[in-house]
Symmetry: C2
Subunit: 200 residues, 2 copies
């Protein structure tokens, strides 16, 4: 299989960690994708031009990251990162919550990357950063209860926090000690987390 | 169950149509949500402040729309809108593609709704509308092959096209005759599509 992604993508990191946890990393070749390059084959693989995209052994392009994680889980026998039992939808909802945090963080990064300074909007930035703050507050209350679970939800949470470390200087850490402890437990249990870290 | 959404939300429309197709509409009370009102309970149900959110009979809040659609499918016995067979991931990927189209359309709408005129950026609008164009081109080629399938993918496609009708005056129709034919077939087969239409 081929994974189109970029080193800093938090959504791509989810997939790399999922593959490692499932023992599938050896079967996946990572081919860098440039979302800003119109001539990159990425846009023929995913017309949205977004990463990550997984090209399966049958040559099919799959996205977005929750679909790829579920597919890899299926390839590995199923029910490991996305359990079949009653906790399934709770875990998928945690994944969606953390993906949404990443989206809100990414939109703030894009505000600086895509726009000249006079087109940047403090209200929009505040609207997105308030989403991040609310999600962190809720997750801080849940962090102890996550225990040592390694699933689609906790992988997304680790990648979301890692992205805040990368792009927002880790300022979340000071006021969210339980999430810091969660991330330490996660990193200790999942070596792929450190292996997929990129320097700021 | 309670569904928090707004009449014009294309993601909320997906859930309403899924519930109708699965025979679950009677079990769901729709309670309007205002994403712009900080005092709306929405932000305690989903800290991202996004709709739709489904409150289950057990009082749990579920999102985003693919998670809710999968949950309703599970409640209805499973395997109807999200098949368990090999076509599963193809259908989930079509859903993600159409959700991505809606996101790119919504970001263009937000550009006008959130920003004063001097903060709007033609480059950003063009970047998002190019995504919509590329997705439509790919889906136009696939439209005949979708046949009369009613699943999580085709429901998302119908809602994406409906949203372009609502917010972009249906300009997509002229150059995408196969998608027009798809939408006519879909609307004929799924009365909930017309029932959930809102006036522009």
């Amino acid at each position: 299989m081929i994974l189109r992604t970029s080193p800093a993508s938090p959504f791509g990191r989810k997939v790399k960690i999922a593959a490692a946890v499932l023992g599938l990393a050896d079967r996946i070749e990572i081919v860098a994708a440039d979302t800003n390059d119109p001539s990159d084959t990425l846009r023929t693989q995913n017309p949205l031009g977004k990463i990550p995209v997984l090209i399966t052994d049958e040559g099919k392009a799959l996205f977005d990251s929750p679909v790829i994680v579920a597919y890899l889980d299926h390839l590995a026998g199923g029910g490991r990162l996305v359990p079949a039992g009653p906790e399934r939808f709770e875990i998928l909802c945690l994944e969606a919550l953390c993906d949404g945090l990443m989206d809100a963080a990414l939109l703030q990064v894009y505000e600086g990357r895509f726009r000249s300074e006079d087109k940047r909007d403090a209200n929009w930035l505040g609207y997105q950063s308030a989403k991040v703050d609310r999600v962190l507050r809720v997750l801080e209350d849940q962090a102890d209860g996550l225990g040592d679970r390694i699933d689609a939800g906790t992988i997304a949470l680790a990648c979301a926090l890692g992205y805040l470390d990368l792009r927002f200087s880790g300022t979340w850490r000071e006021s969210h000690p339980r999430l810091v402890a969660f991330l330490e437990r996660f990193a200790a249990a999942v070596p792929a987390f450190e292996k997929t870290r990129v320097a700021a």
